[in-house]
């Protein structure tokens, strides 16, 4: 299996976390994001939307990090961590549900904040405070839902760690480097859940690659 991307990309990290949870061998093929190689033809033939990561496994080429994690979790369903609850259709549906929540409710808000505080300065611009404020408010509301949910279950989809939790990890790690970490730390159930996610061996292997940091808060 080859993963094309850069370790500092949160979307790439999602895939790397999954590979480590499954103890799967892989090769990381670097794509120079600062030189925009992901927007150029050789890479575009793997992902016409010009985004990392892409994955090659024999004759299969995939992109979209959450499709890649689903593939890895399914292909290696009998080893490593059970990330999908595949043996029980109803539990599997709940994993899918909270994975959709991450993709549609959590990620847009947290991504907007990270983009302003970390990526925009790298492009030589100033963060837009209005965008940050609006999305912190949205993120707070999502985290209120999580706080209540995590009062009932240990992880988002039930009592075991699944893709629904994993998909949150890379952007949350970057978010905790900003001055807004209180959104997580001030919610006891969310905080406990986050600390648990950070203690996993797979996370400890991937987090050293998540090297960008906010230059401004």
């Amino acid at each position: 299996m080859k993963v094309y991307g850069d370790e500092m990309s949160a979307s790439v990290a999602r895939v790397l976390l999954c590979l480590h949870e499954k103890n799967t061998e892989f090769e990381l093929v670097p794509v120079n994001l600062f030189a925009c190689h992901h927007k150029l033809p050789p890479f575009l033939s793997m992902n016409p939307f010009g985004q990392v990561p892409a994955l090659q496994d024999d004759d299969l080429t995939l992109f979209e990090s959450r499709a890649i994690t689903a593939y890895i979790a399914e292909k290696h369903r009998d080893k490593g961590t059970d990330l999908t609850r595949h043996e029980n259709s109803k539990e599997a549906a709940i994993v899918k549900l909270w994975s959709e929540v991450e993709a549609h409710h959590f990620n847009p808000a947290i991504f907007a904040v990270i983009h302003q505080l970390i990526v925009v300065p790298l492009q030589g611009e100033s963060p837009d405070a209005a965008i940050v404020e609006k999305n912190l408010e949205k993120l707070g509301k999502v985290l209120d839902v999580y706080e209540e949910r995590l009062g009932k279950t240990k992880y988002l989809a039930g009592d075991t760690y699944t893709l629904a939790d994993l998909h949150h990890v890379p952007y949350t790690y970057y978010f905790m480097k900003t001055s807004h970490a209180g959104l997580i730390n001030d919610r006891p159930n969310v905080k406990a859940w986050w600390e648990d996610l950070c203690s996993r061996p797979a996370f400890l292997k991937v987090s050293p690659g998540l090297t960008v940091a906010p230059t401004t808060n």
Binding site: A67, A92, L97
Partner: protein, 209 residues
């Protein structure tokens, strides 16, 4: 099977996604109308079903779900032996479907939904369509449809040679856009145009209009 309930609004694209999947599977279900204009979706008891206050919500016996694409995937897998096959077998085929679902969800739907909002729903609420937004979003949609055009030159449907959830998920937004000037973006691309005609003529798609 008794016990399936959908809580939603018949005009909602996300609700229609679930209804189309149920029709593809010939499943019986009860439809519980949630009155969006009264804000019913933002209040209890609906928010017990979806704390994010969006339609649809879903029930099958003791299983309670929300998020339309989680619901359609549950329907496709749990009822895999009923009606039309909406997914494929084998890890690689499933992965290609998963990828197609992500693309529709992250690239097609946000843009398509904005165009539907501006051109279909705003006028219904007495608001004015913002032509600048329409122009910007059509430019983005054109790029996504170029990717689809290329893909549909290689394969009859987006993820396979048979109709799957990847095609199904696009239907509600496409149905609305066909009634707007944005229709031209589909008409201008021959493979996309043929695919649109095919998927929107399915009996399941016709039933939600």
């Amino acid at each position: 099977m008794a016990g399936i309930k959908v809580f939603g609004h018949p005009a909602s694209t996300a609700t229609r996604r679930v209804l189309i999947a149920l029709h593809e599977k010939n499943l019986d279900f009860e439809f519980v109308h949630i009155e969006l204009k009264d804000g019913e979706h933002k209040k209890e008891p609906f928010t017990f079903r979806n704390p994010f206050g969006k339609v649809p919500a879903f029930e099958d016996g003791d299983l309670k779900l929300f998020e339309s694409r989680a619901i359609t995937q549950y329907i496709a897998h749990f009822y895999s032996d009923k009606g039309n096959q909406l997914v494929s077998l084998g890890s690689k085929a499933i992965a290609v479907i998963a990828m197609g679902i992500e693309i529709e969800s992250h690239e097609f739907d946000p843009v398509g939904s904005k165009l539907v909002w501006e051109q279909v729903f705003k006028p219904l609420y007495g608001m004015t369509t913002d032509k600048t937004v329409v122009e910007e979003e059509e430019a983005k949609l054109a790029k996504v449809l170029d990717v689809y055009e290329h893909r549909l030159g290689e394969s009859k449907y987006l993820a396979s040679d048979h109709f799957t959830l990847v095609d199904l998920h696009t239907i509600p937004v496409i149905q609305y856009l066909l009634g707007t000037p944005t229709k031209k973006l589909f008409d201008e691309r021959p493979h996309v145009s043929a695919w649109v005609a095919d998927i929107t003529s399915r009996p399941s798609a016709q039933k939600v209009l």
